[in-house]
Symmetry: C2
Subunit: 249 residues, 2 copies
Amino acid sequence: MSPEEARSRLAALGFSEHDAGALADLFLFAEATGRSGHGIARIEQLEARTDLDATARPVREVVDGSFERWNGNGAVGYVTMAEIVESVLADPPAHVRVIAAGRTSPTGALGYWTRRLADAGLVAVLTGTSPKRLAPPAGGPKLTGTNPLSIAIPSSEGPPIVSDVSMANVNFGDVLAGKASEDDLGPFGGEHAHKAFALAVGLQLLVDALAPVEGNGAVLLVARPSADPVPAFRALADGARLPGDSAKA
Amino acid sequence: MSPEEARSRLAALGFSEHDAGALADLFLFAEATGRSGHGIARIEQLEARTDLDATARPVREVVDGSFERWNGNGAVGYVTMAEIVESVLADPPAHVRVIAAGRTSPTGALGYWTRRLADAGLVAVLTGTSPKRLAPPAGGPKLTGTNPLSIAIPSSEGPPIVSDVSMANVNFGDVLAGKASEDDLGPFGGEHAHKAFALAVGLQLLVDALAPVEGNGAVLLVARPSADPVPAFRALADGARLPGDSAKA
């Protein structure tokens, strides 16, 4: 799908020209980096929604020093994420900022947002919750979303390093596409699945404790780096593929 | 080992009464929760060190709003972690604080420190780097430490939920104890080991970017919660074991 077509289909749903462009960039980046579950399928999802309010705007409810709390306020999660990231880029923190975003779902591929911040020279750590799909490996009810964690570190030479890891063993997009069964969905890790589950629980409660509005949300930490570790890390890696260099992780 | 014996052996190494008590509490908590690799074996390690300076003190080099940068300054990592956590407990943040601690290693079991903060009603997220022991699953040089991530969330009822997850497939304490071979050591996750590796890389570079002094370090985020999600989460779990309820994760 061309950027023009993506923007035009989103505009047809009522999104402003700015928002349609922001969402098209997000979905087409996901396609280009092999994460089609976060790609243009999301335009079809939006088109199928009967409750879509493409003009709703998020609200920044609390600003206090390095802390902000946002409320999606009925806006599509992607729109809220775009507005948050643009607010940081327009006014980056001197040292750190923590942003708790309630009612902010879906977020899209987290690595897209952290990469944009790292491209601007900022360290970014972002997590977000999603519908409860992971049960404890030892059995029990589904307690957490797939709760990805993305970390992006800028570099003075070349692209940032961007990790973006969901705690699930299968991509939920593959479930939607019929390539995997929802019954197979659990925390990744095999014999160590309790580790991914513990991470998912910690991230779930982190978001729930800091972004306390109904529904799913996100927590973003942005920091100005004091050092530039990526070039030496890439040299040490000696050509090994690093997170964010391609589609995976 | 009794608390008295632990404190007395640590005091014999030159630690102050306060520091000996703080380290004894850390090691005995690890023993009591089944993490013997972080337990009294660490006293023997300290006793075996020829470069130990039990009187060195960490320095808080930068304090700017919600950001602090510390330098271990030759102090044992455990001492630096104790001093950081005590400083937060003595003066907790209104909303958030991010502390980057350079030259702060070893830290001991991260879950001990985040639990202490959560016991005081604070959300805590802590990671730390360690000697490079994890290589990319597809092959290549060892690029990261085992880089655990701990997240603790306080609760108005009962204990906090505390996740504490290393990105390695075996406990390095088991390698030291001869129960596992260092050759077996890699990122956890089996077919999804690229996920744990990506997390280890992100956490490695996060610490390296924010705590830029030679050697390993730690990054701590402390936040005051806006909600109390743990009681409802425990109710939903319906008796399933949750992170921090026992020795594992």
